[in-house]
């Protein structure tokens, strides 16, 4: 399995506080991975670095077959290169319809002029409807997304990510605030997505991680503490110390 994303030796400091400390991380092309860790372990900062929101002080972030560095690219360029990100809180465009939200995310030329002259084709509309079906919002298309429930917004956001057709999906706490059924649906969506692309899920909830049934990376104080199957890492003494010892 070839490597899609390789993060090596990355460190970042905020006002003297080391948020990420010599972190190294790899993920393959079609892999589901969960990242867990206590508060302040650097999970969100790690995603910030990969998506270009935060520039690390040192280290390399290498992407894809051509091994390009992500560090010199803007957020938008990284997104176009195939990294999709879902935020912790659902962020959809609440003032716009579900259809518009998905159309916006659909993989198309992103430049201002092509977008200005873009008119949706029948195929695009079909694709949007298909996606809506996948995320269970097929009958919600004309509604304003602000009117959706919390869970539906989360799915819409995942749907938008899928519409982007990214090679790597970064998902931050997708199950937070969801009912049990919603969680199951979310799990299915992520597992399904990971068949064709890499998916990284940041999660607090061990139960949800167990359901994902994938390799787990434990972050602590900005560095990798342990990596492996969930049972393997939960048996690790360091992990137990970090999670329970204090």
């Amino acid at each position: 399995m070839s490597t899609l994303l390789e993060v090596s030796g990355v460190s970042v400091t905020f006002d003297g506080f080391r948020a990420i400390n010599n972190l190294s991380f790899q993920i393959g092309k079609a892999e589901l991975r969960a990242i867990i860790g206590p508060n302040g372990a650097g999970k969100t900062t790690f995603m910030d670095i990969v998506t270009g929101k935060t520039r690390p002080d040192t280290g390399r972030v290498i992407w894809g077959d051509k091994s390009v560095s992500l560090l010199k690219m803007s957020e938008a360029q990284i997104a176009r290169a195939g990294v999709g990100r879902k935020f912790q809180r659902p962020t959809v465009f609440e003032d716009q319809s579900v259809f518009d939200n998905l159309l916006l995310a659909l993989k198309k030329d992103r430049g201002p002029f092509p977008v200005l002259f873009y008119r949706s084709s029948a195929r695009d509309r079909e694709r949007v409807e298909e996606l809506a079906g996948e995320i269970g919002l097929a009958d919600q298309l004309p509604r304003k997304s602000g009117e959706l429930s919390h869970g539906q917004k989360q799915w819409l956001e995942i749907g938008m990510l899928l519409a982007q057709d990214p090679q790597l999906l970064l998902v931050d706490e997708p199950a937070a605030g969801m009912t049990l059924e919603e969680r199951e649906h979310t799990t299915d969506l992520l597992v399904q997505a990971a068949k064709t692309r890499a998916v990284v899920v940041v999660e607090h909830d061990m139960e949800f991680v167990r359901r994902l049934n994938c390799k787990v990376t434990v972050l602590h104080e900005g560095a990798v503490l342990a990596e492996g199957g969930l049972d393997h890492v939960t048996a690790n003494k360091d992990v137990i110390d970090v999670y329970l010892g204090r």
Binding site: F14, D15, F17, A19, T44, T45, D48, K53, T54
Partner: protein, 657 residues
């Protein structure tokens, strides 16, 4: 001319004992002397009176000082019956008490009818005053001596150099003595006939920053433009300052004009002159063979003119080649008016070292100016730093709070006439008024708009518009004065270059006080603690029993209150108008933005930077303060490129959200 006068003065001085000996023993030498010049004295004019005054002084008679003083005071009257001059004072019953100059004794009262007042005009009075100086220099009264030195400094006179020097030795007051010596040095530079003495005096003042030194040295270096044929040597006694190359050191037209003025070259024929000449010589629709309709072409005009010139009707045109040839045949110089090269060199050198020191001191002065401007911006911005930085609220009416403070000061001065008391009352009152206004605004408007920063900005703009117009309606459009107390008038003068007015020092001190106050409130009071807590995490703070509403209200009031105090301070040196606030609002925002939001030190740095920047640009282009502001804003826009979050930036994950 100067030499002539100096020589003359010398001669007269030499002649003093001579004349004194020759004075006839008539018993009334003063009256005799006056009678000798009776006509000129009775009807004096500035142009003719100098010899008379000189003669009086030269007589060496002890009474002359009194005569001159009386004359200057217009208290000499001439008795019409015999033409004799007396000092006269009017008594109660409109009679004039006459006093004889020779004896100093009164000779009785006379009615006005038989007397004519001698009325020297102001020009003559001035000349008399100058003549009086040499008497006053040795006057027993120190005030008189100081006055004499003042008038001498104002109008330096070559003839007074000798009496001045003579008066130094007997001088007892060390202060006056020092002034006399200094004045003597300056007079020596300007007027002494001895070149070595002058050079020595110049060396003595080298590096002195006083304006009068430069005023004395500069005339020595005055030049005039002249020229000579390229192959002829320059006249031997000319003290050349520099050689001028036409086109480089001196505009070609100016150089050529020198030649024309001296008659060494034919005058250029201007385009206007050509047109006039053509207009005069129109004949049958043609001029010089060229039809009039074609004359809109400059070439055709030249052709027509040349034709006229060939016919002898007009002087020929000088073309560029001819002009350049004439210029090439001459050398152009700036020549010192002062013939002695040694003297000009010494003056040059002394001025050079003075310029260097002036430059250093000007930089110091500029620094002080920048500092005082910075403290004004700081004062204006500190309130904004609280509302904008700490609370994230944009208060576009902040400038109007400054204006409100200034008007409060003005109103207080209308009620309390004593300026010191009124300022002491106005400062806390302005704080109270704008504090109340700020709290009212927070309660009525801003509270509804938290988390809608753009709309807060617009709503406060609405308030700003309304407040400005209300101020205009109440106080009118003309500027209202806010007078500072007497002890703030004047300036702290370090030397003739560096000075700073007391008001600016007071504003600087005020800025320091508020910086300290702000730091104290933020670090050591409950309000500061709560404010910092609310700033960092309002929900958490609320759950810990802090009332964010109250904190917001108080810190908004505090920010507004400081704006009011800043208004009083600004009003003291700027005119109070309804637009006062507008002049400061953009700079204040720039200060906060450049400094970095949410950090008082950032505001301080921002104010310092903007203040120095503005003064610096003004110094580079002193004629145009508008340009200075323009460039400053452009600079700030570019600065924001490199430090979008200001000089002192908060960094970290939270800062981005």
């Amino acid at each position: 001319m100067r030499y002539l006068r100096a020589a003359l003065a010398g001669l007269i001085l030499l002649a003093v004992p001579l004349v004194a000996q020759q004075a006839p023993e008539s018993g009334t030498p003063v009256q005799d002397l006056l009678q000798t010049h009776a006509d000129q004295i009775a009807k004096s004019s500035r142009r003719t009176i100098q010899p008379v005054i000189d003669a009086l002084v030269a007589s060496g008679l002890p009474q002359i000082e009194t005569v001159l003083a009386t004359w200057q005071a217009r208290e000499i009257w001439q008795r019409e019956s015999d033409g004799l001059f007396f000092a006269a004072t009017e008594t109660d019953n409109s009679l004039f008490e006459l006093t004889d100059f020779d004896t100093g004794e009164p000779i009785g009262a006379f009615p006005r009818d038989g007397l004519a007042q001698v009325k020297p005009n102001s020009g003559v009075q001035g000349l008399i005053a100058t003549a009086l100086v040499q008497f006053q220099l040795n006057s027993p009264d120190p005030a008189q001596r100081r006055q004499a030195l003042d008038s001498l400094a104002r109008a330096p006179d070559a003839t007074l150099l000798a009496p001045l020097r003579a008066s130094i030795e007997p001088e007892t007051d060390p202060d006056i003595r020092a002034r006399k010596q200094r004045l003597a040095t300056l007079l020596t530079i300007a007027h002494d006939s001895n070149e070595a003495a002058r050079i020595a005096a110049i060396a003595e003042v080298s590096g002195d920053l006083s304006v009068d030194v430069r005023a004395t040295l500069n005339p020595l270096l005055s030049t005039h433009r002249t020229f000579a044929a390229a192959d002829a040597p320059l006249a031997g006694d000319q003290n050349v300052a520099r050689t001028l190359v036409p086109g480089r050191d001196i505009p070609v037209t100016e150089a050529y004009a020198l030649l024309v003025a001296a008659g060494d070259a034919p005058a250029l024929v201007s385009e206007g002159a050509i047109r006039e000449a053509l207009a005069v010589n129109i004949a049958e629709g043609r001029v010089g063979g060229v039809p009039i309709a074609a004359l809109s072409d400059p070439e055709a005009r030249n052709r027509a003119y040349d034709a006229l010139a060939a016919a002898g009707a007009v002087p020929p045109r000088v073309d560029t080649a001819e002009r350049d040839a004439s210029l090439a045949a001459h050398r152009f110089y700036d020549v010192y008016d002062e013939p002695s090269a040694a003297l000009t060199d010494a003056a040059q050198q002394a001025l050079g070292s003075i310029e260097t020191r002036v430059g250093i001191n000007q930089a110091l002065d500029l620094g002080l100016d920048a500092l005082s401007l910075a403290s004004i911006y700081f004062l204006a911005a500190i309130g904004l730093a609280i509302t904008f930085g700490v609370m994230g609220v944009i208060n576009m009416a902040h400038g109007e709070f400054i204006m409100m403070g200034a008007y409060t000061g003005y109103v207080v001065q209308q009620v309390i006439p004593d300026y010191t008391v009124s300022i002491l009352v106005a400062l806390p009152l302005a704080f109270a008024v704008t504090f109340a206004a700020g709290v009212a605004m927070e309660r009525l408007v801003i509270r509804h708009l938290y988390h809608r920063p753009l709309e807060t900005l617009l709503a406060t703009f609405g308030i700003s518009i309304a407040l400005q117009q209300i101020a205009k309606n109440i106080f009118g459009t003309q500027a209202r004065p806010l007078t500072s107390p007497g002890w703030l008038d004047g300036a702290w003068v370090l030397n003739d270059v560096v000075s700073i007015s007391y008001i600016r020092i007071a504003i600087f001190v005020l800025a320091l006080i508020f910086l300290t106050l702000f730091l104290f409130i933020m670090r050591h009071t409950r309000l500061g603690l709560e404010t910092r807590a609310v700033t960092q995490n309002p929900r958490m703070a609320a759950s810990m029993g802090i009332n964010p509403d109250r904190v917001n209200m108080l810190s908004f009031g505090l920010g507004s209150g400081i704006a009011g105090v800043a208004g009083v301070a600004i009003g003291l040196y700027a005119k109070v108008t309804s637009e006062l606030g507008q002049d400061y609002i953009v700079q204040s925002f720039m200060t906060v933005v450049v400094g970095g939001v949410g950090n008082i030190w950032g505001t301080l740095l921002g104010a310092t930077m903007i203040g120095s920047l503005q003064k610096g640009i003004e110094w580079l282009n002193p004629s145009n303060t508008l340009a200075a502001q323009t460039y400053m804003i452009v600079f700030i826009i570019i600065f924001i490129q490199f430090r979008p979050r200001g000089i002192i930036a908060l960094r970290g994950r939270a800062a981005g959200d």
